[in-house]
């Protein structure tokens, strides 16, 4: 007989395993946009993740240098389009601080309410897409159903569903729509009854838990080292909520608890975001009944000229700390604008937490980091 039969073990012995590259993206649905990940894998085990950026670079920072301060605001809609209202607020606050302009209380309260609604809208979309990334299809529709109510509020008051451009330096473009308070008050009990449904549908699901628990663990030290912010950092126990430490608009008068977790895995990031939706509801409830009367804007010059100097303002978007840095030379255009986007620093830790896992784990990790690629590429 001799060598006639080839045993499976002998094949395994003779096969030399080698690392190889595989492209994930730029149009992979699980990368949430045009992001290309160069994976070095050994079988199914990830050895290295190289994010390749630049596929939707639009040079927004450079465009800002030739635009007036009113015109910059609408460009920030196109960064993190899921928290566009908070991005607008950041630019407006930065310009108002530089001009030492005090906006009316009414503007502050409305801005905070709209900001928290944006956060809920962003998190509901994330929740739906997160479910879809790990293989649950229903969550997508349930998330979008609740987001639709917020989008209607935005459309009625701001005039657009995604790129609102409702804030202007000095206040708001228009006063709130007469139906605004009514619609928000309808939304809060509706969403309060739907959020436990999210838990029943996905959080307790055994497949979902097996896919996310212990996957993509980020320690508190690494979260700080990589400059992570937002729910990603808070899930590792790093308390970094800008709303808490550097309150802006009406947030200094609000009681809310920062959602924290210590595990640092994908499931912890998921739980932090769910807890944040509850907190956002609580913030809106505290404000919606007592929106102060007053003007919706203060008059600014038609041509805004910032004093000479450097100005920075940070806010907490749905993804983390968003900063606007403006250098002014005293002319009507900024000399230089830099946006500190939460997505880029959160993406930078992907290689650190995905190495050693499987490709399927990478998809779950990517989903809980919740990157928006236009925010990273700008």
């Amino acid at each position: 007989m001799g060598t006639a039969t080839l045993e499976p073990t002998s094949i395994k012995k003779g096969f030399k395993s080698e690392e190889y590259f595989i492209n994930m993206g730029p149009q992979h649905p699980a990368t949430h946009g045009v992001l290309r990940l160069l994976l070095t894998i050994d079988g199914e085990i990830i050895k290295k993740v190289d994010p390749d950026l630049g596929y939707i670079h639009r040079s927004i920072e450079k465009m800002c240098e030739s635009n007036s301060y009113q015109q910059i605001v609408h460009l920030t809609d196109r960064l993190d389009y899921l928290s566009s209202h908070i991005n607008n607020e950041a630019v407006c606050l930065c310009v108002e601080n530089a001009l030492e302009l005090e906006v009316p209380e009414r503007v502050k309260v409305i801005r905070t309410i709209l900001g928290e609604l944006t956060r809920i809208a962003s998190h509901t979309l994330w929740w739906g897409v997160m479910g879809m990334d790990v293989g649950a299809f229903s969550s997508y529709f349930y998330g979008f159903r609740d987001r639709e109510m917020i989008n209607d509020i935005f459309e009625e008051t701001c005039g657009a569903r995604l790129t609102m451009n409702y804030n202007i330096p000095g206040g708001l473009m228009q006063d709130i729509h007469p139906n605004f308070v009514k619609r928000v008050k309808e939304f809060i009990p509706h969403f309060r009854s739907k959020l436990p449904e999210y838990d029943r549908l996905l959080t307790g699901n055994i497949i979902f838990q097996k896919r996310t628990k212990g996957v993509g663990v980020l320690s508190k030290e690494d979260a700080i080292n990589f400059g992570a912010s937002g729910p990603v950092a808070r899930a590792s126990g790093y308390s970094c909520d800008v709303r808490k430490y550097h309150p802006y608009s009406a947030l200094d008068k609000i009681n809310f608890t920062e959602a924290l977790d210590t595990t640092g895995d994908s499931f912890a990031r998921y739980k932090v975001r769910i807890a944040e939706m509850w907190e956002s509801l609580a913030i809106i409830e505290q404000l919606i009944d007592n929106i102060p009367e007053g003007d919706h804007k203060v008059a600014t010059n038609a041509v805004i000229k910032l004093p000479k100097g450097e100005f920075y303002q940070k806010v907490e978007t749905a993804r983390g700390e968003f900063g606007v840095y403006i250098i002014s030379t005293g002319t009507k255009n900024p000399y230089r604008v830099k946006f500190r986007s939460p997505g880029l620093s959160n993406l930078s830790l992907l290689n650190h937490i995905a190495v050693g896992g499987k490709i399927g784990d990478l998809v779950a990790t990517m989903a809980t980091i919740d990157i928006v690629v236009p925010d990273i590429d700008r």
């Binding site: 635009n67 009113q70 015109q71 609408h74 460009l75 229903s138 159903r145 639709e148 209607d152 459309e155 009625e156 008051t157 701001c158 005039g159 657009a160 790129t163 451009n165 202007i168 473009m173 228009q174 729509h177 449904e197 029943r200 549908l201 996905l202 307790g204 699901n205 055994i206 497949i207 838990q209 038609a302």
Partner: protein, 158 residues
């Protein structure tokens, strides 16, 4: 947990989730928010502030209220608005007055930011709520907002 209790617990969680979807499956008609577009075109009502495209309303005498002050042109971040204007002699006062020849609006470049409508001092331009803006040729996206033969309404000043 043991092997069998693990399976038992796992099936339990799946059934909990399926109870949610089952509830909506049975009550599918209640609270469904799906819009039957484009079948509901006749009844579809957009919100009054929705920013579709910029239009210039004209009254029955074919008059608009654009004085040609070019504030919208300056406010636009993308150069979507071009105003071709000239000075004409006002028949009442005999003085030369600025008047628009063409108010050109490039919908293809517009980002619907709303700064032009906000900047207009005489409310000459406003937002239309139509959103079906696709055309076969991009030259159709360049629109002249003032109608031919129209003129500025008397009494509208800069």
């Amino acid at each position: 947990m043991g092997y069998f209790s693990d399976i038992y617990h796992g099936i339990g969680t799946l059934l909990t989730g399926m109870r949610v979807t089952g509830k909506y499956f049975i009550n599918a008609r209640k609270g469904a928010i799906t819009q039957q577009y484009p079948d509901n075109r006749d009844t579809l009502q957009m919100f009054e502030r929705f920013r579709g495209e910029v239009v210039m309303p004209h009254d029955e005498n074919n008059e608009h209220s654009c004085t040609g002050c070019q504030k919208c042109e300056l406010a636009c971040p993308n150069g979507s608005i071009e105003i071709i204007w000239d000075r004409v002699i006002d028949p009442e006062t005999g003085k030369k007055k600025k008047a628009i020849d063409q108010h050109i609006y490039h919908l293809g470049m517009c980002t619907q930011c709303g700064l032009c409508v906000d900047a207009c001092p005489s409310d000459a331009i406003k937002w239309a709520q139509n959103f079906e803006n696709s055309v076969y040729d991009r030259t159709q996206l360049t629109r002249i907002l003032n109608k031919p033969g129209s003129k500025v309404r008397a009494g509208v000043e800069e």
